[in-house]
Symmetry: C2
């Protein structure tokens, strides 16, 4: 059950001024999360209607965890909360983009301790050897933060 406006015409969805998000057959919409200050892409996750609404209402990024099948306010365990500074959608409104200010002890988004989940890049994309290098250092030790 979603309070979001119904999707209307393609013209209105693509060029209009009303948020009409498209949730997939599984009830989810992809969300890209970007650092508000630097533009760095921090993570990629999914939201259902409830988590998107909670994100808007609370100003704290809240996702839907597919692995745990539950709402997941970012930082609820680690304390690394994401304060929402901007909410965007794409042309056909089937993706959400939020810009956030990382808050909390480590300023990290990734459960492996890195600021961004995208901490590895291909050394040489054309080399056909699929070798990744890690381009940054972890900001916290996951073993200390997540006691499972």
């Amino acid at each position: 059950m979603s309070a979001f406006p119904e999707r209307t015409t393609r013209e209105e969805v693509e060029l209009g001024s009303t948020l009409q998000p498209k949730f997939g057959p599984d009830g989810l919409i992809p969300c890209i999360t970007q650092d508000h200050a630097t533009g760095e892409v921090l993570m990629f996750a999914f939201m259902n209607a409830e988590s998107l609404q909670l994100t808007l209402d609370s100003g704290k990024a809240t996702y839907w965890s597919r692995s745990r099948s539950k709402l997941w306010m970012k930082g609820e365990e680690s304390g690394n909360v994401q304060l929402v500074r901007e909410v965007r959608t794409d042309c056909d409104q089937d993706v959400i983009l939020i810009k956030v200010e990382q808050s909390g002890p480590a300023n990290a988004s990734c459960h492996n301790g890195y600021k961004s989940c995208f901490y590895r890049k291909l050394v040489d994309p054309k080399a056909n050897d699929y070798v990744l290098e890690t381009t940054t250092e972890p900001l916290f030790d996951p073993k200390q933060v997540y006691k499972k």
Copy 2:
């Protein structure tokens, strides 16, 4: 059929130095495309193994069009090609992030003529009115570029 390395252990996938991309049950992996110079998120699309391999080999962003069920080299119609400058993946390697240099006549990624598909933002996320504003101007007229 993919030439990409098989997925091995969680440790190797998350912290290792080999690209082991996870394609979903539909054979697709989400791809975030970012402007290499500014960090602006330009678009979000999907790749299958073939389009990811073509992206690496050719250095030009190539996606899988779900609506047309075909490979789609970005810019094949509009001329606005994306030259790949960096390829990243996330912690569990189920998302690709590419940083590109937009090339071609309009330097635009969106079929509606905008540089980025994310040309609208919520005016006030907490207002609960779902009002979007367009924050940029189109760089080309889609009617002139796409003759369908």
